[in-house]
């Protein structure tokens, strides 16, 4: 579904990414992990169009998307969440989702101002669909609260809900578990799995929470210092010595029986 080919990106003198290549299969939950500063968010930003890479290509559903603006890429079917939650704080929970429906609807300034019948119809549809999504992510009870008043766990879920409103084929999640406790993380994991299983949406997940990653991912790519150092199933990657060194340092002793899958 998504092919990243030989992407490179530098910021001034700092080489953030070199020769990154990886593939995401349709229907997979693909995790992108690596120590801080490895370039994971930079890669997401390139895929979603916020950054232009220095070289390389990104192919989504057979189409080259590297030089498209974020708005265009979103309309092609890629949606995302952000490392620092980018909700519309001064709007209510339901309104946040409704904005997600924007790209799928078309009432303009003129027709809205004059309250033309098709506008009213579309508005009802937006309301209905948004409530549906809200129920799906179990935030219906927060419908009319201001988004900025929600606890961080719910905010992250809301951001995912908003991404769902755009009817994406692929969703990029940037550290959705950051700041969440164990219960909230489990809940998040459930929702992500449901989105993939029930809505048939492919997921790319940037995460630090290894428990979550190992539990729900089908495939894992590991980045370190802007390069891919491993790519495979969670089990394969876990056992990869380079990965272990990247995270734990050049330790000779690896605790016996270390298994993140418990």
């Amino acid at each position: 579904m998504l092919s990243i080919k030989e992407i490179g990106k530098s910021f001034g003198g700092l080489k953030a990414l070199s020769n990154i290549s990886l593939d995401v299969k349709e229907g997979d939950i693909k995790a992108l992990i690596g120590p801080n500063g490895a370039g994971k968010t930079t890669l997401l930003n390139i895929v979603s169009g916020i950054y232009q890479p220095d070289n390389g290509e990104v192919i989504f559903l057979g189409e080259k998307i590297v030089h498209l603006a974020p708005t265009k890429i979103a309309r092609k079917g890629i949606s995302r969440t952000f490392q620092h939650v980018e909700l519309f704080g001064n709007m209510t929970v339901i309104e946040n989702i409704m904005v997600g429906r924007h790209a799928k609807t078309k009432s303009g300034f003129f027709s809205s101002g004059f309250k033309l019948p098709f506008v009213m119809k579309e508005e009802r549809e937006i309301q209905r669909k948004s409530e549906e999504i809200l129920e799906y992510i179990n935030l219906g009870h927060r419908k009319d609260e201001y988004a900025s008043n929600l606890p961080i766990g719910e905010q992250r879920i809301l951001e995912i809900g908003r991404a769902l409103a755009t009817e994406p084929r692929l969703v990029l999640l940037d550290e959705p578990a950051a700041g969440l406790n164990m219960r909230e993380t489990r809940n998040l994991g459930e929702i992500i799995k449901r989105i993939r299983d029930e809505l048939k949406i492919t997921i790319v997940l940037v995460e630090h929470d290894m428990d979550l990653v190992m539990r729900i991912s089908d495939s894992v790519t590991v980045l370190n210092f802007g390069e891919v150092i491993a790519d495979g199933t969670p089990l394969e990657v876990q056992k990869n010595p380079e990965v272990i060194i990247a995270y734990l340092g050049d330790e000779e002793e690896i605790p016996r029986g270390y298994n993140a899958h418990t």
Binding site: M91, F114, E123, R162
Partner: protein
């Protein structure tokens, strides 16, 4: 329309209809007319600033375009007034688009100064090349529609406030619509908007054009009412005045724009006795409102009312 807005709208329409009945003096009505004209500009700026989060110190430019284009077309071109006014709005829209495309990439101070520069350039153009130059010109035909001319004070009062009501209807619908949500979302996070597929640039340009068109309409009405115009009415001072109206009334509230317009229009009348102090008092009022009533009159009033209701409920 939400309940609160509907009530407000009905009260508003009622007030418009009744005001001439209770206080029909020519003087009151004239002040009312100018308040209404200013309200139109203020509402447009309010949508731009309070909802979309942009800023403009150049509304006087669009106001001036509305006045001059409509006057010239009807006076020298023989166009019917309505057509002239509509063509003026189109010119203003084009000017807004030309300005908006480069300017809306800027933020904050830079955008403010860019719009200021635009307003000043329009002023200079009107001053140098407008009919009559700095002295302006007259004999502008009164507003007329299908042969029926409006030439009485009370006629203009109803015409202008009727248009304000229509514009408010349009604007309230807009704010509560998909587009209104999009504008508010842009105000909160452009990054997220782009990621959700909103064409942020196009939306910003559209709302900018909207505010320009409102100002242009106001300018045309002004010209056909006073029948004599000169560039001095369309200077930076007017742009700042409109900004004051929006801020004093409450940036995030459309009704605030109307109240702010009324307050700021009525103020000079009250200050007339001060003569040379009027600029100073203007400045002081503005400074004090900005510092102490940051949110604006209407939101503060609403808060006070809510608090009172809270007391009333608590007492029971």
């Amino acid at each position: 329309m939400k309940k609160g807005d509907l009530t407000a709208f009905l009260v508003f329409v009622l007030l418009i209809i009744l005001l001439p009945v209770f206080s029909g003096s020519n003087y009151t009505l004239t002040v009312g007319i100018f308040s209404g004209i200013n309200a139109l500009v203020a509402i447009g700026l309010c949508i731009l600033m309070g909802y979309a989060g942009q800023v403009s110190l150049g509304q006087a430019g669009f106001y001036g375009i509305g006045a001059y284009v409509s006057s010239v077309l009807s006076l020298h071109g023989g166009f019917p007034i309505l057509i002239s006014a509509i063509l003026a709005m189109i010119v203003a829209a084009i000017a807004a688009m030309i300005l908006a495309v480069p300017a809306l990439r800027l933020k904050g101070h830079y955008l403010a100064v860019a719009t200021l520069g635009f307003g000043e350039i329009i002023y200079i153009i009107l001053n140098e090349w407008g009919p009559g130059g700095p002295s302006g010109f007259g004999d502008i035909p009164h507003f007329s529609f299908l042969g029926y001319a409006v030439d009485s004070t009370i006629g203009y009062f109803y015409l202008i406030w009727g248009l304000v009501a229509a514009v408010m209807f349009f604007s309230i619908n807009l704010i509560h619509s998909r587009s209104g949500r999009a504008l508010r979302a842009i105000h909160d996070s452009e990054l997220a908007c782009n990621a959700m597929g909103l064409n942020v640039v196009a939306l910003k340009i559209k709302v900018f054009i909207l505010s320009a068109v409102y100002a242009s309409l106001a300018g045309s009405l002004y010209a056909h009412y006073v029948t004599f115009i000169s560039p001095s009415s369309f200077s930076l001072f007017y742009s700042i005045l409109v900004l004051m109206m929006v801020i004093v009334g409450g940036i995030t509230n459309l009704w605030g724009a109307i109240i702010g317009a009324v307050v700021i229009t009525v103020l000079p009348e009250l200050l007339r006795r001060f003569e040379e102090l009027d600029v100073l008092v203007y400045g002081l009022i503005l400074t004090l409102s900005l510092m102490f009533f940051k949110k604006g009159l209407v939101p503060i009033l609403i808060e006070k009312i809510k608090k009172l209701r809270g007391f009333a409920i608590a007492k029971h």
